[in-house]
Symmetry: none
Subunit: 222 residues, 4 copies
C-alpha cells in the first residue's frame, strides 16, 4: 500500500524509483539495501521516498508486486491459447529467459522471498506469484491429456509442480551464482560463458520434458 503520491508523480520518476529499487534490493537484499542509496540512484530526495511509501518494507513489497506485473506482461503476452502444452511451455521458458536477461533483478527478488526471515513477504506475495502458472500448467496438462498429447497415467498436479521446478531453476541459473554453480555440477553448463548456453539448456529441457510427458505410443509413432 504505497501512498497516493506515488501515483501522482511523473511516471518517468515513478519508473525510475521502482527500477532502481528493484536493482538495489536485488543487489543487496532487503536488509542491506538502504534508502539513502536508493534516493541517490533514483535521483530523488530521501524524504520523497517517504512521500511515496509507508516504509522500506512497503517499498520492497510494492517493488515485488510491480515486478510480478511486469514479468507477467512480458511472459504471457505472446501466448496463443491453442498451442499445445509443449509449445506453450517452450514459449514461456524462452520469453521468461528473455525477460530475466533484460531484468535480472526481478528473479532475484523472487528467490529472496524464500530466504531466511522473509516469511512476512512470502505471506503476501507467494500465492500471487505462484497461482497463475500453477493453474495454467494444470489446465494445459488436463486439456492435452484429453487430447492424447500427454500420457494418461500422469499425476497432473505433480507434473505441473515439476515443470515449474525446472522453470525456476532454469531462470535462476541465468542470474544466481549459486544456481550457476549447481548447474555446472549437474549439467556441466557454464552459464557465465561468453557464448551462453541458454538456448542449449532450453532445448535440452524441452526435449527432456517431451520424453517424460508424452504418452508411450506417441514415441512409437514419432
Amino acid at each position: 500500500m504505497p501512498k497516493e503520491t506515488l501515483m501522482l508523480i511523473h511516471p518517468d520518476k515513478r519508473d525510475r524509483v521502482l527500477h532502481e529499487a528493484a536493482c538495489l534490493f536485488a543487489e543487496r537484499g532487503f536488509s542491506r539495501a538502504d534508502m539513502a542509496e536508493l534516493a541517490n540512484r533514483a535521483k530523488v530526495a530521501k524524504g520523497s521516498l517517504y512521500n511515496y511509501f509507508e516504509s522500506k518494507e512497503d517499498c520492497y513489497m510494492f517493488v515485488c508486486q510491480d515486478a510480478l506485473d511486469r514479468y507477467r506482461q512480458a511472459v504471457y503476452d505472446g501466448l496463443e491459447q491453442d498451442w499445445d502444452i509443449y509449445r506453450q511451455v517452450e514459449h514461456i521458458f524462452r520469453s521468461g529467459a528473455g525477460f530475466v536477461l533484460e531484468h535480472p533483478e526481478y528473479i532475484i527478488l523472487y528467490l529472496n522471498i524464500s530466504s531466511a526471515g522473509m516469511d512476512r513477504f512470502a505471506d503476501q506475495l507467494s500465492q500471487k506469484v505462484e497461482q497463475q502458472f500453477a493453474r495454467l500448467l494444470k489446465e494445459l496438462l488436463t486439456r492435452d491429456m484429453a487430447r492424447g498429447l500427454v500420457r494418461a497415467d500422469l499425476d497432473i498436479a505433480f507434473a505441473a509442480h515439476m515443470l515449474n521446478s525446472l522453470y525456476i531453476f532454469f531462470l535462476s541459473s541465468l542470474v544466481s551464482r549459486h544456481h550457476q554453480i549447481r548447474l555446472q555440477e549437474y549439467l556441466e553448463l557454464d552459464m557465465k560463458a561468453e557464448n551462453s548456453p541458454v538456448e542449449e539448456l532450453l532445448e535440452r529441457t524441452v526435449k527432456f520434458l517431451k520424453t517424460f510427458l508424452k504418452p508411450p505410443e506417441e514415441e512409437n509413432h514419432g
Copy 2:
C-alpha cells in the same frame, strides 16, 4: 577459517554456539542476525565469539559448512550401495526429511545461499554442497540404466538435475513459508497441517519418479 580457539574449547560449548548460530541465522538471515543475540543464546560473552571466528561472516560460513557435514552424515549414512536408485532416492528423501524436520535451520541456510547479496557465500559453499549428490545421482542412473532399471533414452545429467530439483523443493516445503504456499498451489498439500502430509508427498514423489524414469517395458511387466 575460524580461529584455532574454536577447536580448543569444550565440544559442548562449541556445539551450543554452532547450533544457536545456525538457528539465529536461519530465523533472521545473515544481515538481521546479530552477534550480541547469538552470544546471549549461546550463553557466551560477545567477545568470545570473536575468539572463535574472524568475523560474523566467518561465523556464518563455518556454520554453513558444519551444517553440510552434519546433513551428510545424517542422510548418507544408512545408504546401501547395492540398493537400486529408486530405493536409494527414497531413502535419501526420507532421511533428508527426517533431518530437516529435526534441524529446519540447515535447509534455510541452504536456501539463503541463493538469495540476494550472498554471492560471496555461494562462491565458497555451493560447489561443496551440490557436488556429492550430483555425482551420486549420475552414478546411480548410469549403473541402473545398464541394469535396465532406468529407461535407456534418458539424458542422465538432466534427470539427475531434475531429481535434485524435486528434492530441494521437497525439503524446502518442510520449512519455508514460500515453498509451502507454492506447494499448496501446485499439490494442494498443507505442509503446516497438524497431520503433516510429508509421507504422502514423499510417496507421491517416488511414484512420480518411477513413472518417469522406469523403462516402458518395465511398466508392461509390472
Copy 3:
C-alpha cells in the same frame, strides 16, 4: 574531503563542531578521542557527525586543515612586507604566541602529526603546514642579506630551518608538558608559572637570533 553537508549547515554549528573537535583531539589524541564525546560537546547528534564527515579520520584531517587556515590568518595578517627580518620574525613569534595561547589545541594537533602511527596524516598535511613559513624565511633572509642586515656567510636554508625549529619549540613550550619540562631543563623557565615568562623567552629568543644572524660589522657599528 568532508561531506557537502558540513558547508550547508549554520556556520555557528560548524564552528562549534570544529572547535570542539580540535579541543577533543588535542586533549586525547586521535585514537582516544571518541565521536560520541565530540557529539556531546558540540551538542549535535552522533549521526550528524557522519553527515558532516566521512569518518573520524576525515574529521581529524579537516580539523587540522581548518586549524592551519585559522593559524595563518591570525599570524600572517598584521605582517608588513618592508619590515626587516628581525621585526617580522619577532612579530610572527609574538602573534604565534598570542594565537597559541588563545587556541592551544591547534599546536597540539601540529605536534601530533609527527607522532607514532600518524604518517598518513603527515603525508597530507605536513607540506602544506611547512611550506609557507619555509619560503617566507628564506626570502627574508635572502633579501636582508642583500641589504646587509644578515651576515653574508650564512647557509640561508639552514638558518631558516633553525629559525623554524626555535619557533616550533617556542610555541610548543606554551602548551606541551614535555616541552615545558625540556625548557625548564635548558632555560630554567617555568612556562606554567602564574606570571608566565613568555615575553622573557620571546625577547631572549630574538636577542639570540640577532647575535647569530647579524653581520659582525653591524655589531661594531651598533
Copy 4:
C-alpha cells in the same frame, strides 16, 4: 615499576619483549598498539605480559625508560671528555644517527611523549630524558667559552637549547615522515633517497654551528 618477574625471566625473552614492545608502540602509538599483538610478536602468552608489567601503561613507561638507557649507552660511550665542544657535538650527532638508524623505534617513542594525551608520560619521562644532554651542553659551552673556543657574548643556556633543538630535528628527520617532509621544504634534502644525505646534513649542521658559536676573532685567525 614492572613486576619482579620481568627481571627473573631469561634475558633473551626479556629483550625480545622489550624490543617488540618498542617496535609496536612506535608503529602504532600507545593507544593503537595492542597487548595481544605484542604477545604474538614476542612469542609470549598474553597473560605472561601481565606477569611482567602492571598494565599496558606500565609496559609503555618501562619500554621508554629502557630505550633511554640503551640510547645513552650507545651515544655517550665513545665520548672523550677533553674533546672540544664541536668535536663532542659532532660525535653525538653521528653516534645518535647511527643509533637511530639501527633503532628507529626509540626516537619515535621520544616524539610520542610530546603528543596529545601523553602528559602523564611526560611527567615521568621528560626530565629524565632531557636533563643529561642539557647539562652536558651547558658544561661544554661554559668550559669552551672560558677556553676562548666559544664566543663570549653567548646566552649559554639558549645556545644549548638551540643545539638540542637541531639535534632533535636531525634525528627525527631520520625516521618521522613529518620531519622528512619538513626537511625537504627547508633544506631540499630527501632523507628517504637511496643515497641518504645523512652525512651531508650532519656536516652542514656542524659547519653551521661553528659559524654561529665560534668567536669572531677565531674566524680571523682560522
